[in-house]
Symmetry: C2
Amino acid sequence: MTALANVRRRTGVDAAIAELRALLGDRLSTAAAVRESHGRDESYHAPKAPDAVAFPDSTEEVAAVVKICARHGAPMIPFGTGTSLEGHVAALEGGVSIDMGRMNRVPRVSVPDLDCTVEAGVTRKQLNAHIRDSGLFFPVDPGADASLGGMAATRASGTNAVRYGTMRENVLGLTVVLADGRIVKTGGRARKSAAGYDLTRLFVGSEGTLGVITEVTLKLHGIPEAMTAAVCAFPSIEAAVAAVILIIQSGIPVARIELLDATMMDAVNRYSKLSYPVQPTLFFEFHGTERGAVEQAEMVGAIASDHGGGDFRWAARPEDRTKLWQARHDAYYAALALRPGAKGWPTDVCVPISALAECIAETVADLRASKLLAPIVGHVGDGNFHLSFVIDPDDADELEAAKALNERMVTRALALGGTCTGEHGIGYGKLDFLAAEHGAAVAVMRQVKQALDPDNLMNPGKVLRV
Amino acid sequence: MTALANVRRRTGVDAAIAELRALLGDRLSTAAAVRESHGRDESYHAPKAPDAVAFPDSTEEVAAVVKICARHGAPMIPFGTGTSLEGHVAALEGGVSIDMGRMNRVPRVSVPDLDCTVEAGVTRKQLNAHIRDSGLFFPVDPGADASLGGMAATRASGTNAVRYGTMRENVLGLTVVLADGRIVKTGGRARKSAAGYDLTRLFVGSEGTLGVITEVTLKLHGIPEAMTAAVCAFPSIEAAVAAVILIIQSGIPVARIELLDATMMDAVNRYSKLSYPVQPTLFFEFHGTERGAVEQAEMVGAIASDHGGGDFRWAARPEDRTKLWQARHDAYYAALALRPGAKGWPTDVCVPISALAECIAETVADLRASKLLAPIVGHVGDGNFHLSFVIDPDDADELEAAKALNERMVTRALALGGTCTGEHGIGYGKLDFLAAEHGAAVAVMRQVKQALDPDNLMNPGKVLRV
């Protein structure tokens, strides 16, 4: 940005803040602590505080906020819970963070239709608590208790995606405030539709760069008659991954298949006070009828055993299952706890399942040749795995080594027909990888961006360089 | 279009045809019979022949065709098998039909990854024949043996969608030639990705208005260990639909649940030489392990019986299943055969499952109060059903009555939270209904269209008025 443009934007932001204060009163904050917490996510990426934080109460109020910002040329950064991992919420060009936390109502749950509509600030755990007695649940579960608007915006997934899909498959419709303040509803409640362009899927994964998601209509799923979980240790990562590939290829509808490497198992044992073998381990969950879940478990058990897997350690009681999965969800924090004072840098790739063993094995070899601490954990049923670098961000050499290893891992995944991120998104951390992956299609994404946000005010600097 | 613009376009089309002939030789046709067959689909909508038909051999050749047409301002209409149902292929503003039929190769099948890449002209039956010995199948099955490019372009679905999803869920990636001749690849082979805007889903369902789909990467599915089908008659449509709703709400993973009303059963019996009871009937298919398929069938049987369903007539042998489903797929032609010389006008809506009984019952009452012949058939597990008007297109009163009844049905579906089309698309037959359904979002669709096709040359007059 030129110096003059910078001054103009600065003046515009100040004018916008004055108007927003008149609109929102004390629901507009410029306090340093509030601003700082809104420019930072859970990644190692440099945070950047916005100039102000707005706390709107309704879609109409979001539209009013957006209109004020648009008129003054102030950048806008939608904010859910700040648990993203590629710098998504950093206010790279300043502007106004739009915190959706007050929009946390659940206006509608339809048990017969297995769907609901939530405001964007409702978190996944809040939704599941809300529908606890309905016989339904919402399956998408990134580690953090993220907001459903944020999860839609980042196309989040998690451990259940192998069976229940990601946000791409589970969002039926959206309410979105566009860059000029227009309110649009996309999609609907029908399970399928051939009516017009799929704007819902366009906004899902757009990371706040095309508009602010204010409401989300979601598929819900019936709580299965039977659910049971098990943990099984393997002699090597290769053996564990080979078992996973065969399970997927056999079409067994496993609800969860998670891989943790030995380092991560050690971290999880320490953090969650557990005593699993410190070996590469698969966590499974089976959903179905009583007979169906048993049948799945038997089939998986036979495959695991053929690949050197040890005995299944079962967690059949609900409280044991909860404990097991909470430990899995806390894996990132467990990894951080291995090295107090260090920062985490989680990164993920996803490849076709036939390439998973090769991609992980080469990444592990690369890691062993480095001095880096980076436990591996993965939603391996989807071909998706994560490295969580645990680094000293002030050590330039270490940071450089991690960057180089990450780049090699992404390059490897792309060469194997995969994607630079299975579920974390682009933010500003993976801009170059998006271009490497999608080539000429990035120009098409840019055309769409420019059509819907010609002044580049919606979360500028994320997903695409404009 | 003004008279002057019309002359300009006319001149441009002639110039384009001359250049295309130089490029393609006898793979460019202006023969009347060829042009006429390319301006007509299987619906009652008025056909309109293009000025010429191009038969490209490769993505690069499609790009060359598009560049020539774009330079001369000639409209382009992608053509698969011409089996669409809302006038999708009519050359409303003249121009060049791009017939993808020669692009019918299958460059890649990956059995371990359960995916494949096909050229756009490959039909669904051709693909399934190609992979017959692989243990895999492609489930999406609109009645016609449509091309996979056309199915992607219209977001097709069919009888298996309740379990396996529609083209929206089964397309992993696309190669698309844009309106300016650029070739882009969208998506990829990873099962999930959070990398950038979901261009794949943007082109799926765009009906050729944003570009020409030339290759499709598809998910495949393992052929289940056990498959069995059954037919069950009910005392009333209401009873059959009530059974369906309970089956879906119970989370039983039925592969197919199809409803045919008594009129349609009569038509199917006559056309396919069968002898089912002439009553509202559900067709079921169960996929799973041996034990799992039996368990599903038992659960469904109990629900059907509670709703007055008769005995299950089983079709366990593959040839019986094929016969049963071929009869179901031929239902549209069976309906037409009820009134020789008449034209078919199939229309569909889709509603949340809780509204399905009401929507069908009111539509049936409306039909009974009319003199129209319109058998009902539906993918009712998704809340999707079809009316197939069988009309004399030269009888203005009859046509008017069908139009009015269709409009009331769509209005009813929208009021119940549904969509104006579950799987047939907008074409030029449902332009007004798209606006009624999506309101302000249609303007967003138009912005996307204008960004990617500023001269409105890709299948103009379809999906959106520009």
